[in-house]
């Protein structure tokens, strides 16, 4: 807990409704955020059980600097992913992190399964499981509204909830956070659904005194100034991430038509500028972020004859425009918004959903699946067909849609077409066919996301390709992000929070850290994640990538299969070496449990007392 020398964890057993609170000093060396969550997951996971078994835990954690400094806005969720069957790690912004801090918890650990649908209400003076039977089946928006109207505390409250897809066990079901943000990737929604947990409402209203206001506020102001008076963050507020649509397309890195191409003919109608001109109505921020990158797009839908209109508004970003736009051949921003709206209401990860539909469209035209299975013809560019298919998918309408709901890797293993089922180690690909960095980066990355190590960014900045340099860069970036994801920083602020800034910030609120400590923390966390992945059965060298990655030219031309696998092997040698490095804390920490607290060399300075022991 910020200002204290322990982590405060709330454990909730959904089966019995029993709660337990633990204040743990031994978790301080993990800093917070993903470090804390990884350790808590390692302690409570069950590698022998299915991802949706009731004994599997869900962990939410906030970071070491949450809310206290600008843009440290994220909450991490960790779980066993029903999509990849291994490490599940997902981040969301919104108000959740601030409210968890103000409710008084660094982390919430959920286990068990409620006998009937419930929602969990957490506040600074109460924890309760409440009846959600009537909400079962409701879409994400209606669920949010129902809880908003029942619970007090607007403004200091966060409501996270699942839609029908999460209830129906779609492996890539998402969790909607405060209407416009999500724990999108890897299926947290399905895990919540498997626990009969429809939603969580967190209300944070406690008082939290600042220990040294002048010291802290000086650093706050410096960071705030960097965020607002420099151009480091301006692109995210301006047209937002969709500004990348056109340059990626121009360089051939925009996955299009199930990645048959890296360029989309109609790109100018779905570009960042197109959305900004035609649909953008508003920009919003996560709590504590002065930038405001959330872009709300609106379009007018005629729902009936006789000039019957409604306004549909959704938040949009680059990834959604790729997955539900170019990847499916959708030619207008209005249609993309309509599809996003459906994905939002049903509660699925936009990327996995779009990529799975891309596979289905191609499999359908190749005759591997038929109308009886798809129930609606699937064709690139046909948004109406996709909207219907999304409803069937979220509902698990028939056998085929239930299989599709288990992800592109699984569904292609049953129906064929695995050479164009565009997943990387079971997680559907991100919107970057930029080269070896993106592909290898996602293959070896802890959660198989482009954000594990920013391989796509390495591709875009590299003039001359050198496989060893790429491998080293993504390796270093992976454990660096383990550290920054312990703060938890929004990745858009990675230029703001260089190491010097991170040290200044943390040391102004009571930590006593040096540059080397940050490296050690990053490595410690990465090792923890690698141990979890190993326990879940993941092996880097066993990853098999769909052929199409090597057929469709990337931004850096055609990728060579042998080179890719050689790079994965080289990366695995680096992780082997990392695992062999000794962290004196590792062995000791591994054997610690909440009931047997052991005093370990901490990294935090107790106020005015020097190094704590």
């Amino acid at each position: 807990m910020i200002h204290e020398k322990y982590m405060r964890i709330l454990y909730v057993d959904l089966n019995t409704g029993k709660i337990r609170i633990s204040q743990r000093e031994d978790l301080m060396p993990y800093l917070g955020g993903v470090g804390l969550a990884s350790k808590l997951l390692e302690e409570s996971m069950h590698p022998e059980l299915d991802a949706c078994h009731e004994d599997q835990p869900i962990i939410f954690a906030i970071g070491a600097g949450t809310w206290l400094f600008p843009v440290l806005t994220k909450t991490v969720a960790m779980f066993r992913s029903p999509l990849t069957n291994e490490l599940g790690e997902s981040y969301a912004g919104g108000r959740l992190a601030m409210t968890m801090l103000m409710a008084g918890y660094d982390a919430i650990v959920l286990v068990g399964k409620a006998p009937k649908p419930v929602y969990l209400q957490v506040s600074n003076n109460n924890v309760a499981l409440k009846d959600a039977r009537a909400m079962w089946g409701l879409n994400s928006e209606d669920t949010g509204r129902a809880i908003r109207e029942r619970e007090t505390g607007g403004g200091k409250r966060s409501i996270i909830r699942i839609g029908p897809a999460g209830e129906n066990n779609v492996s890539f079901a998402s969790v909607c956070v405060d209407s416009y943000r999500h724990f999108g990737r890897l299926g947290l929604g399905a895990v919540m659904g498997s626990k009969n947990l429809k939603a969580i409402s967190v209300l944070g209203g406690r008082s939290m005194h600042i220990t040294d206001t002048p010291k802290y506020f000086k650093v706050y102001q410096k960071i705030y100034k960097k965020c607002t008076s420099t151009d480091m963050m301006s692109k995210y507020h301006d047209a937002g991430t969709p500004i990348n649509v056109e340059p990626l397309n121009a360089s051939g890195g925009l996955p299009t038509l199930n990645m048959q191409s890296g360029r989309f003919d109609n790109v100018s109608d779905i570009s960042g500028e197109a959305f900004a001109k035609k649909n953008l109505v508003r920009k919003l921020a996560c709590t504590g972020c002065p930038v405001g990158c959330i872009h709300i797009g609106m379009y007018r839908r005629e729902f009936d004859k006789g000039h019957e209109y409604e306004a549909i508004s959704v938040s949009y970003d680059y990834e959604l425009i790729f997955a539900l736009g170019s990847f499916l051949g959708i030619k207008s921003s209005d249609e993309i918004i309509a599809i996003i709206d459906e994905v939002e209401e049903t509660g699925m990860d936009a990327m996995s959903c779009g990529v799975c539909l891309g596979w289905a469209t191609e499999a359908y035209s190749a005759g591997l699946i038929n109308d009886e299975q798809t129930l609606v013809p699937l064709a690139f560019g046909d948004s109406h067909g996709y909207i219907e298919a999304i409803r069937y998918l979220a509902k698990g309408e028939n056998r085929f849609y239930r299989d599709l709901g288990r992800g592109s890797q699984y569904v292609s293993s049953i129906y064929g077409g695995s050479e164009y089922a565009m997943h990387i180690a079971g997680n559907e690909m991100p919107g970057y066919h930029t080269g070896y960095g993106a592909l290898v980066g996602a293959a070896v990355g802890a959660r198989h996301s482009h954000l594990c190590n920013g391989g796509y960014s390495v591709d875009q900045s590299m003039k001359e390709f050198d496989e060893d340099v790429v491998v080293k860069k993504i390796f270093d970036e992976e454990f660096e992000r383990c550290m920054t994801n312990s703060l938890i920083m929004c990745l858009f602020a990675r230029k703001i929070y260089d190491r010097e800034t991170i040290l200044e910030a943390l040391n102004s609120i009571g930590w006593d850290l040096k540059d080397d400590d940050l490296t050690e923390i990053g490595k410690r966390i990465y090792r923890t994640k690698l141990r979890i992945k190993k326990a879940y059965g993941f092996r880097q060298k066993a990853v098999k990538l769909p052929k199409r990655f090597f057929e469709t030219p990337s931004m850096h031309g055609q990728l060579d299969e042998a080179t890719t696998y050689r790079m994965i092997k080289k990366y695995s040698e680096l992780t082997d070496a990392l695992m062999a490095e000794t962290d004196p804390l590792d062995q000791q920490l591994q054997n610690i449990s909440a009931e047997q607290p052991v005093v370990v060399p901490g990294v935090k300075k107790a106020a005015g007392k020097g190094k704590n022991a």
Binding site: P70, G94, G204, R206, S207, M208, I210, Y224, K283, A285
Partner: protein, 137 residues
């Protein structure tokens, strides 16, 4: 001429809550939104518009009139300043404010009323909040 806080351009608000954070830090040395004298709210969750609830600097303050112990003193140009040593924590000021801009700090048992220091406006990233000159009467 005195300057008063006006939430005049809330159409630009992105809901970052920096104003509330800054108010709590500067005036209460606290991180809690509950300590802030300005509240940014939405009606209908995140899909609704943002509004700022904050003292509008009445020239003839009802809160001051309601105070039985003289703990609220009028400021030049409108609004009040709290003299905490005179406050009895009766919450009559809170009820008297028809703008609902008087909040209450349960921890200290005193009202939270904006003193128009301008810190929130200084940190508003989109100039939704502004300090405007008003006549001194």
């Amino acid at each position: 001429m005195p300057k008063k806080l006006k939430a005049s351009e809330m159409n630009k608000c992105i809901g970052c809550f920096t104003c509330m954070n800054i108010c709590s830090i500067v005036n209460k040395q606290n991180h809690s939104l509950s300590k802030s004298a300005i509240k940014v709210r939405t009606s209908g969750g995140m899909t609704g518009r943002f509004v700022a609830v904050v003292c509008i600097a009445c020239k003839d303050p009802a809160c001051m009139e309601a105070c039985p112990s003289g703990a609220l003193e009028k400021l030049p140009g409108g609004g009040v300043i709290l003299k905490p040593e005179k406050c009895i924590g009766c919450r009559k000021c809170e009820k008297a404010c028809i703008m609902q801009a008087v909040f209450f700090d349960e921890e200290t048992n005193t009202p939270i009323i904006c003193r128009h220091c301008g810190s929130c406006a200084r940190f508003c990233p989109h100039q939704c909040l502004n300090m405007m000159e008003v006549s001194a009467e």
